[in-house]
Symmetry: C2
Subunit: 278 residues, 2 copies
């Protein structure tokens, strides 16, 4: 019999709404298999109104190895963790949670780390760039702070919810990073990031106006499906270096394994690719 799961299997949950598009269940379940760690990653579809009740119930499950938190729960999860890493406190957003030895649930945010690591590992430079981040939710906030940490000269913010954009800009400025709100236009920027869900649906417009996008700009997107969003397609036409959402995700894997304290092993995209087909 093909053994997929047994009574000793640990569970890594991923909670979101919607959930069908999340890649974590495939990727992490394959990584666990590649590293012979008896665990499985399962999608958990929960609405925002029920997040608190869900998390209260989740704490009762003793074989939960951790929880990945995705859209739209990253901001709310801050209020349901017992303890936050310094980074998560700063960003006020959580994309991963674990149970500590004392039973408390600890939240961290690794989205920004994955985005920055993706660019730097390909030899791209962030230092000195004028950045625009469109979308000021969990991922956008994490990326804005991570880009700032990587020494961008300024980080501007755009959001259809104007008050949310100005709130993030204020927090960046309070942390000593030149910031402000902006239109969703690439004009005047050389690091352009879509951190909004725009581009997921087939009929979505382009997330950022690329009329004045310069060839020297780096352009990244957090959207995973489709891999090439209208934004990235427009940026490639202009000859820009582009980073699809999957690259940010892949670069989070190792950081997430460390935070979740899974057994040592190879938790890179290469390990996923090596898992044999059925």
């Amino acid at each position: 019999m093909h053994k997929i799961v047994d009574g000793s299997t640990q569970i890594l949950g991923v909670v979101g709404d919607p959930i069908r598009q999340v890649r974590a269940p495939e990727v992490w379940s394959a990584l666990f298999r590649a590293n012979r760690f008896n665990a499985v990653c399962v999608p958990l579809h929960v609405t925002p109104a029920e997040l608190k009740t869900f998390l209260t119930g989740l704490r009762t499950i003793q074989n939960i190895a951790g929880l990945i938190v995705t859209i739209p729960h990253k901001l709310a999860a801050v209020h349901h963790a017992d303890i936050l890493t310094e980074r998560a406190r700063h960003v006020q957003s959580v994309n991963v949670m674990r149970r500590d030895e004392d039973g408390r649930w600890r939240g961290d945010i690794l989205d920004g780390i994955g985005f920055v690591k993706g660019l730097l590992s390909r030899g791209q430079r962030i230092e000195g760039r004028r950045a625009l981040v469109v979308g000021s939710g969990g991922a956008g906030t994490a990326i804005a702070f991570a880009i700032a940490e990587a020494k961008a000269s300024s980080v501007h913010v755009s959001d259809i919810a104007a008050d949310r954009a100005s709130d993030l800009a204020s927090r960046l400025e309070a942390a000593g990073i030149p910031s402000g709100t902006s239109a969703a236009s690439a004009r005047g920027y050389d690091l352009v990031v879509n951190a909004s869900p725009i581009g997921m649906k087939p009929d979505d417009p382009i997330s950022i106006d690329c009329t004045d996008l310069v060839r020297e700009a780096l352009v990244g997107d957090v959207v995973v499906h489709p891999q090439i969003t209208p934004l990235l397609a427009a940026a490639r036409e202009r000859g820009c270096y582009t980073q699809p959402g999957i690259v940010m995700m892949d670069n989070q894997l190792t950081a997430m394994r460390e935070f979740l304290r899974f057994p040592d092993g190879d938790y890179t995209p290469a390990a996923v690719a090596r898992v044999p087909a059925a």
Copy 2:
């Protein structure tokens, strides 16, 4: 990449304490794969004190396909279902739950059906037998009522918790079935069932005294690991027909699929055996 789970996967949970010994995750995950139904069965380790909180949280998960309830939660789960099948009301025990269209959670008990079906499908006769059931928890109660339904002439009950045994005996008598409490001895019975956990641990004593066990008796056990408990070994020595716990489990599969309204397919042990090895 070997795809085990993805964002569209439905979850069948199995809740128990302890959990490592449960076979449902292996069996059901293999059945789902054999029938190309995108679902996975995962173990959920929850203590009795936290069952209510756990179930409240579980209700918030939209892609839960159902919940299998095992030791020690089968009695308590009765109080956490919104609606019970007639059978579960009678037995006052639940081993499977599903969400109805109106959002209510419905509980049923299929343990007894599996036990009886296991014997009848092998051409064994239950009608007219004097039965002893040792253990009056969820499985024991379900088996006692199912044996009675299958027209045993009497169903006696034994339990180290004497008050629980006499409670079950009273309920059987109230339902018109000759009953009473008994010592855990095969003397005077020709259908002998261990429905207690005794036999799971390596040092466990025999669950039922077999000194006076007759060759014509049928002897069944609910314990799954080990497959041959001290009780079944003693019964085989005397030439009795024996039914290991795994047979009861296997015979529940089809009934459970129907209750959980999974897509049509082959949900028999044969289908599990046909799933190719990795």
